[in-house]
Amino acid sequence: MTHPYADLPPRAFWRSAVAEADRLHFPDLYHPGIAIRPDTSVATAGSCFAQHIARALRGAGCSVLDAEPPPRAMPADVAAAFGYRLFSGRYGNIYTARQLRQLLDEIIAGEPDPACVWTREDGRYLDAFRPTVEPEGLDSADEVLLHRAYHLERTSRMLQQTDVLIFTLGLTEAWEDAATGRVYPVCPGVAGGQFDPGRHRFVNFRVGQVVQDLGHIHAALQRFRAGMQMLLTVSPVPLTATASGDHVLTATSGSKAVLRAAAGEFVADTPGTDYFPSFELVTNPAAGGPWFDANLRSVSAAGVARVMDVFLTAQGLTTTAPIAGPAAGAEPVEDEEDAADALICDELLLEAFRK
């Protein structure tokens, strides 16, 4: 007797693919539908977990685009604090599909939204759509608009060179401006701006809305570069807080389920897209672990390394640099006195301080 399951490969069966498999490396878990080679121009965006992807790909020698590189002398920790080298654009965390959709729409429109200016309690100014990239704020509203226009244009030029965008979906919850419909990455009043209950409205996107936003994003990306492919992941990082009224654990499960379902639906219906199971590799009990730090929220360095190892191995890429460490950046290389001055300095010192 024959049936559809008779000829399925071992990866289709729990016992051979999970229970009896090498669950550290999961060699058959991810079959890339989008090939990434060292010369593939990759852009990354998404929630904070997306930072690990960019770092790992750079470590593997891949070409990860950077629309706004920092000055070379800026130390890596300062650069990261100011939003440099975390993603391919200095857009900060893009937690929701709606956020990315709106960013692309704004880039295509070519003008920064003047509503992007927030003020802080200390009188300094922020870009409401990426409030964390300037931790000390900007000097004026004009400067916010200048930087945003620059950011949009540089991101546009970066996307025009992109072969593959890797987008990590993080949240379904967001706060939107009721008048404009624009969502913010952070609730107004938290990192800047003022919360106005009559204007700022909580939204919790559903599967259909996320799928629709992903479709809009995919179409917009084709305007920057025809044929651009899109690789989706879902962040395994739980919600820090929920405004849904549910317990944060329940809300996390709900959000991640929505994102996972939306990614699956979108990829199934859209050629040139793929899904990488970073969410499953961290959160599924079969994946071992725990892969979280003591706060049960941050993915541990070992967890990140493990996820990225599965990804890179499946892509045929080899890690050439530590992937769990801090972002590589400019080390302060001290320039000594000019060589021509060295002898003079020595003689001056000797003359002055000879004991």
């Binding site: 706004e68 590189p69 920092p70 000055p71 070379r72 002398a73 800026m74 130390p75 920790d77 300062v78 650069a79 604090a81 100011f82 300037e134 000390e136 704020g137 900007l138 000097d139 004026s140 004009d142 400067e143 200048l146 930087h147 226009a149 620059y150 244009e153 540089r154 030029r157 080390e331 302060p332 001290e334 320039d335 000594e336 006195e337 000019d338 001055d341 002898l343 003079i344 300095c345 020595d346 003689e347 001056l348 010192l349 000797l350 002055a352 301080f353 000879r354 004991k355």
Partner: protein, 265 residues
């Protein structure tokens, strides 16, 4: 009487010469000078109130310049870290790569996104430069002294280059002339000072900016406060020196220090 220990590189000499020229001008200061070259001073550590070398090279330099390989520092009331690669040219390194809103030059740029430089915020420039100088010899030494001894530590950078350096290779490399002509000088100098203040404060030290009367066009030093020329020890020839200050400069810096420790002349 405040016992002040001054540690630095060849830029320390101007202060020592000022003191030798007018020994009675600072009756409230009891100064001790210790010279080091390059990064060698980092190969030392404070152990039981004594600065001791951790490498043969450091021991050699201490012996050579101070006549002893152990420097008593516990009995000092305050410290001054002088020179040791803390200089304005580092902000020019940032300027070669980046522009920010306060710089007049970017107002003339029609397409900012096409700039070969990064457009960064002024605060990012300050934070980045402060982070950079925190790793330089002078600031690392200041950090160690402040942590080990709990006494005031003053940080004094090298002076800006001699005005005549504007026509030399070094100034051209760092774009000093272009920065002055297009009006960026004041903003660059402000970022330099802000970053130095921040880096020093972060390690528990106090930065003393270059005395205003010695500064020309924001980015250079007035010739009358600089050596201008030195004798090349190898050839015996006189050659230009655009880097080192003279005793007149040293006098102003000692005045600054005396004011800081409350024994102004």
């Amino acid at each position: 009487m405040t016992r002040l220990c001054l540690i630095g590189n060849s830029h320390l000499i101007a202060l020592q010469e000022a003191l030798q020229a007018e020994p009675a001008r600072w009756p409230g200061l009891d100064c001790t000078f210790h010279g080091f070259r390059g990064r060698t001073v980092l190969n030392t550590r404070v152990q039981d109130g004594v600065l001791v070398p951790t490498t043969d090279g450091a021991r050699d330099q201490m012996q050579r310049y101070s006549g002893q390989a152990r420097l008593e520092v516990a009995g000092q009331d305050a410290f001054a870290v002088v020179g040791l690669n803390l200089k304005l040219l580092h902000v020019m390194t940032f300027w070669k790569d980046a522009r920010w809103h306060a710089l007049p030059s970017i107002r003339q740029v029609p397409d900012l996104a096409a700039l070969p430089h990064a457009l960064i915020s002024r605060m990012a420039a300050i934070a980045g430069l402060a982070g950079f100088v925190a790793g330089l010899t002078g600031m690392v030494l200041a950090s160690r002294l402040a942590a080990a001894l709990g006494k005031p530590v003053y940080v004094i950078g090298q002076p800006r280059l001699h005005r005549a350096a504007l026509w030399g290779d070094q100034a051209a490399y760092f774009g000093l002339g272009r920065a002055i002509v297009n009006g960026d000088g004041p903003a660059l100098a402000a970022v330099h000072d802000a970053a130095m203040h921040r880096a020093a404060a972060r390690v528990g030290a106090i930065y003393l900016p270059q005395p205003g009367t010695t500064i020309h066009d924001h980015l250079l030093s007035r010739p009358r406060f600089m050596l201008g020329q030195v004798t090349d020890p190898a050839s015996g020839r006189i050659r230009p020196d655009h880097t080192h200050p003279n005793a007149r400069f040293g006098r102003l810096v000692l005045d600054q220090l005396a004011r800081q420790v409350g024994v102004a002349p």
